[in-house]
Symmetry: C2
Subunit: 219 residues, 2 copies
C-alpha cells in the first residue's frame, strides 16, 4: 500500500522526470513537495526499499515501472475528478486543483472505473492535460506553445502548462479558453510579446511569459 504522502512524492517525481527526461534531484523534489531536502532523502530511501523508485545516494532518483504505474493511477484519478468537478458540478477550471489533490488519493478501482464511464471516458482534463487510460496509457498529445507560432499562423488553444489560479483567471478575463482559435498578428522582437486575434473578433496583446504557457495545435 502507498500512503497519501508517498503518492504525492511519486507524482512529483513523475512530473519532474518527464520534464527533463533524466534523474530528478533531491532539491527539485523538495521544492515541489514543499518540504526540505532532508525529508526528501528519507522518503527516497523508503520508496527505494519499496521498489517504487531507483535511487543511488547523491545520484538523483527515477521511478521504477511499478512506481510509474502508481503515479499514473494517481494522475488519472486527479484528472478524472477535475473533469467531474467542472463538467458535472459546474466549478471553474481555476478552482478544481486543490480539491482534486485530495480526491486523487481515494482508493477504489471500481470507483475510478464508474467515474470514468459516467464522464464518457474523457481523454483530457479541463486544463487540456491528457488522462491516462485504465492501463496507464496517455493519449497522444503533441502540442506547441503559442510562443513558438510564427506571425500570420492560426492555431487552436488546447491546454495550459501553468495551473495557478491567477493565470487561469487572467485567461478567463481575456477570453482565452480551450478551443479558442488564435491568429498571431504580430510579434514584438524586443520582448517577444504578441498581438493576437481570437476567433476573428477581438485583438489583444499578451506577454511572452503568457504565450509560453499556452499549448496550441496548428489547424
Amino acid at each position: 500500500m502507498t500512503s497519501f504522502t508517498e503518492e504525492n512524492y511519486l507524482k512529483v517525481i513523475y512530473k519532474l522526470s518527464s520534464e527533463t527526461d533524466s534523474e530528478v534531484s533531491t532539491n527539485a523534489v523538495a521544492e515541489q513537495t514543499q518540504t526540505k531536502a532532508a525529508s526528501v532523502s528519507d522518503m527516497l530511501r523508503k520508496l527505494s526499499e519499496k521498489k517504487l523508485v531507483s535511487y543511488q545516494k547523491y545520484q538523483g532518483v527515477r521511478l521504477t515501472a511499478e512506481g510509474e504505474k502508481v503515479a499514473l493511477k494517481v494522475i488519472r484519478k486527479h484528472r478524472l475528478w477535475e473533469v467531474f468537478l467542472v463538467e458535472k458540478l459546474g466549478f471553474n477550471w481555476d478552482e478544481v486543483h486543490d480539491i482534486a489533490e485530495e480526491l486523487e488519493h481515494i482508493d477504489s478501482e471500481k470507483l475510478v472505473a464508474k467515474l470514468d464511464e459516467y464522464l464518457g471516458f474523457p481523454s483530457f482534463d479541463p486544463h487540456g492535460d491528457p488522462i491516462p487510460d485504465h492501463h496507464g496509457v496517455m493519449p497522444a498529445q503533441t502540442y506547441l506553445t503559442l510562443a513558438e507560432i510564427k506571425k500570420g499562423e492560426e492555431v487552436i488553444m488546447m491546454g495550459v502548462s501553468e495551473h495557478s489560479s491567477a493565470f487561469l483567471q487572467y485567461l478567463d478575463k481575456i477570453n482565452l479558453v480551450l478551443g479558442t482559435s488564435i491568429e498571431v498578428l504580430d510579434i514584438n522582437n524586443f520582448d517577444k510579446s504578441l498581438q493576437i486575434i481570437l476567433s476573428q473578433e477581438n485583438s489583444l496583446f499578451i506577454t511572452h511569459e503568457v504565450s509560453k504557457n499556452i499549448l496550441v495545435k496548428v489547424q
Copy 2:
C-alpha cells in the same frame, strides 16, 4: 483544523451518544473505532483540549456544540457522497459505505454545496438515513422497527439500522428494498420471527434479528 482521525472519533461519539442519549464510555468508542481503550483516552484528552468534547476522566465523554457541528458536517458529507455513488454512478447500496468513509473527509464547503445541489438536495441517503442540511439540521424522521409492528398492519420500509454488506445483500435477495410495502401476516411468539408479505406479492419469513434492523413507517 480537525484531522481525519479526529473526525472519525467525533462521528463515533455522535453516533453512540445519540443511541444512548448520555455520556459515551471509553470502551464503547474503542470498539467502534477499532482501537484500544488506551488510544481512546489519549484522543479524548486531545479533543477535550480542542473544546470539541466535554470529558472528565473516568466519567465518559459528550460532544460540545462545536464538536457536534463538526460531526454533523462529516455525516452530511458521508451521506451526500453515498447518494452520489448510488444515484449517479450506479453503485449498489451495500458497496458505498467504505468509499464514503474516505470521501467524507474532503474539506471544501463549496464542493459540498455544489454536490448537494447536483443531487437535488436529498433528505435521505441510500440506507434511509437522514442527511443534515447546510446548517446541520437533521430532517425529522420517526420510524418504528418492523419488529414493533402488530399482526395485520401494513407499513412501508424506510431504512435500515444495520449497514453491513451481508445484511444489505440479504435484503436485496429477498426483495426488501426502500419503499417496499410490507404487511405482517403472522408473528411467531416463540422466536419473534415474522411471516410478511411484500407489495401484495410474495410472502416470506424473516427472523427477529432481521426485523429489528428494518425501519418502517405506518401508512
